[in-house]
Subunit: 216 residues, 2 copies
């Protein structure tokens, strides 16, 4: 395994790759990617992503069919499905509290506060619970993408898929609380892609107020 790239280099070098070699990802490297993915932060440390690492040929073929038949899903040795559980906060909090107490990161006071604050905040979110879970899943997916790049692999954030079909493939067809955030194929790039460029900063970055364009 080569020396990982630094963050600025990984960010600037990364491109959305659409073709992959058939070379497999060694188990040890895949495991490292999974660990770096779930090291991402999440709201209240809920870890409300539900990540499915799709590697079986039959499952990859089904996933490709759910993704407008984009061949990168079967070309890549592995495709990560980032699902998000909009109501993860309604169960399993005790094990999160126990871990944080054991590590010393949170004290009893923090946990006592969270026991009220989490259901209070999330209940007020109403139909935005889905959006907040999807946000956490996107943070984790971005950790995967940059970690993979740093370790010599390529990826592509994919939005082109049918949510119902992807859910059926991973076995969540009957779970209305599960949202699909994105798919990310991971593997060794077959063909390079060029940078399509970025708009001048003053178009979508501002200083203090939207009407005050950021100037380099």
């Amino acid at each position: 395994m080569h020396q990982p790239l630094d963050v600025p280099t990984a960010i600037l070098q990364r491109r959305s790759i659409k073709t992959f070699k058939s070379d497999p990802i060694p188990d040890e490297l895949l495991h490292k990617l999974v660990e770096l993915t779930v090291a991402a932060p999440s709201s209240w440390n809920l870890q409300d992503w539900r990540i499915v690492v799709v590697r079986e040929p039959e499952q990859k073929a089904a996933l490709q069919a759910a993704a407008f038949n984009q061949t990168m899903v079967t070309q890549a040795p592995v495709t990560f499905v980032f699902a998000a559980d909009a109501y993860a906060w309604q169960e399993g909090l005790d094990r999160i509290f126990t871990q944080a107490l054991e590590s010393g990161a949170w004290n009893e006071g923090t946990v006592g506060y969270f026991k009220n604050a989490i259901p209070g905040f999330q209940t007020k979110l109403g139909d935005k619970n889905r959006e907040y879970a999807v946000k956490d899943a996107m943070i984790a997916a971005t950790h995967l993408v940059l970690a993979a790049e740093s370790l010599g692999l390529s990826t592509c954030f994919m939005n082109g898929w049918s949510e119902d079909m992807v859910k059926a493939v991973i076995g969540a067809g009957d779970n209305p609380n599960l949202a699909i955030a994105c798919l990310v194929p991971v593997g060794y790039a077959a063909d390079p892609r060029q940078n399509p460029g970025r708009l001048p900063l003053e178009v979508n970055v501002s200083l203090d107020r939207l009407d005050n364009p950021y100037q380099a």
Copy 2:
């Protein structure tokens, strides 16, 4: 400026920091962070984030009031507001196409396809246009968080704020298409924070299907 951290190190070292020193971020470093933030990928390269770098004391105070009075917003020298324009795809595409044609990343065929595919896809999204724009903004915010960590700065993803109040502060109170994705204060950590831990992988990572827990 010290040598940036590699991606795995930045990911594992990063904590959500809640207290900041008053030390300012040098202009050159802030500019580097902005450049690395917008280097993030987005759906169709829409770059549909609207990023407001809040630095003025009065604006930081107003933002803190919009964020349940969390003091990290005024402690940190800069807080980034990640807004997302749900209907960015309805305008400004020509400049994105022109750039990609000039760089050679896309050819006329790609652009011709995108001219139909983008409005087709986004129109079908219906009320999910907001979610898709928020996803792009979260990718960019995660680029900022990891870039900042790699360059010796600390951050915190913040979900605790009133969307209407944040929009009013940045001057978007009258724009129904603008969503707030997250706030990210950036600065030099005053107090360290410990890792609250992560659930065992078999809880929220699966192999091929949700009912097949991933085993390390």
